[in-house]
Symmetry: C2
Subunit: 234 residues, 2 copies
């Protein structure tokens, strides 16, 4: 089964008032998973050696922060400057980050739709995050698509429920962006959930799970047929 | 005379060890000009109201720093986050920065030629500075071309002499990027210099000054002739 792997993720949460942020408290609950380490950075005091050790044990490093003036808050920039020393972080260094993944989870106070040329912010988030992409390139890390938390305070309960699932997937799904892996991830999550719910709900959820599995195998059949047709034509 | 104006410039120098930086000490001497305020930011303690007042009195705000992980050092990011409050900085706010200029003076530890797609750093400085360009856009400031200090430690004396002139011009020349203004700026500087040097050097410098003025008027004649030809053809 593809995507059945297991990755360890370190979330560096850079926010000067983490406890007062409803966004960060929501995400903290969502990130309460066995494979995720939640690491708040809300002061300028950094335990460099300890945090370097955390990074070394990690497959996916996620820098999470509210966008302050189109960049990370100073507490997070300070952490980056302190922890990612040349000796530790460069590809030829001992603690090399080569091959690890770098994700950015950014929360916005201004609507995400404004981040486009000609709209209010005039630049895309991909452009604004280039310093992080350059960092990933320098350290030979795999740069992940940015995870956007769009004006959390204005989100409906339904949007927040979707946000929770997508965020958990961002933190824990191996090979982000692969559709098969996304389905596998959901099937796994649902199977785990079924084991914990009361009997009456179990049946309902099992039906949903069977439907997803069925859809997935139909899709795989379609893909196989398509491949056979292509092979015949060549 | 064009470009004969006078602008007030505030240089915010963000560097955790300004005194130990030979680059910053060199630039500090170069910036010792009547129209320039040199403002070091090397701690996380910010006098917000005082610095906001400094900005209000300024025509050109220059953020100066060594590039740390493709961005400003944490001390400078902290200054930005603290000083540019919504109430102070937004275009509809009291302390509006609308119409002021924003310049970036960045010193590089890695050669400037590496900042291009496909080379070592893979991204241009224009891309890496987009967060500052977005800031200028938001505040309706005029964004100036970035001033680059390319590996100061490796520069020859001649390169440093050129750097000094170009840096002074970056801080004080009205309408950066206009050729006429550049010449006017040089003529003014040279005239000031001639007044201070011994008699024997005065003559030599006056000849150079006359030559520059002569070149400038020749250029202006050429431009006028070109315009007349264009007007005739229309």
């Amino acid at each position: 089964m593809s995507g059945g792997g297991f990755i360890k993720t370190l979330v560096i949460v850079g926010h000067p008032q983490i406890e007062d942020s409803s966004t960060q408290q929501f995400l903290k609950k969502a990130a309460d998973l066995s494979e995720v380490t939640w690491h708040p950075v809300n002061t300028f005091n950094v335990e460099v050696a300890k945090d370097q050790a955390l990074i070394q044990q990690t497959d996916r490093l996620v820098l999470q922060f509210p966008l302050y003036w189109y960049s990370a808050p100073a507490v997070l920039k300070n952490w980056i400057d302190q922890v990612l020393t040349r000796h530790f972080a460069y590809p030829d260094a001992m603690g090399s980050l080569v091959g690890k993944e770098l994700g950015i989870a950014v929360s916005l106070g201004s609507p995400a739709r404004n981040f486009v040329a000609g709209a209010g912010e005039n630049f895309s988030l991909s452009q604004i995050m280039i310093p992080f992409q350059a960092l990933a390139h320098k350290l030979q890390m795999t740069y992940l698509p940015t995870f956007v938390i769009d004006q959390f305070g204005y989100q409906s309960d339904e949007m927040k429920a979707k946000l929770l699932i997508n965020y958990q997937r961002y933190l824990t799904q191996p090979r982000l962006g692969h559709f098969d892996d996304q389905t596998d991830w959901l099937v796994n999550k649902l199977s785990e959930l079924i084991a914990t719910v009361p009997e009456d709900k179990k049946q309902q959820l099992t039906l949903i799970l069977d439907q997803i599995k069925n859809d997935q195998s139909t899709l795989e059949d379609l893909q196989m047929n398509l491949k056979m047709i292509q092979d015949t034509e060549e």
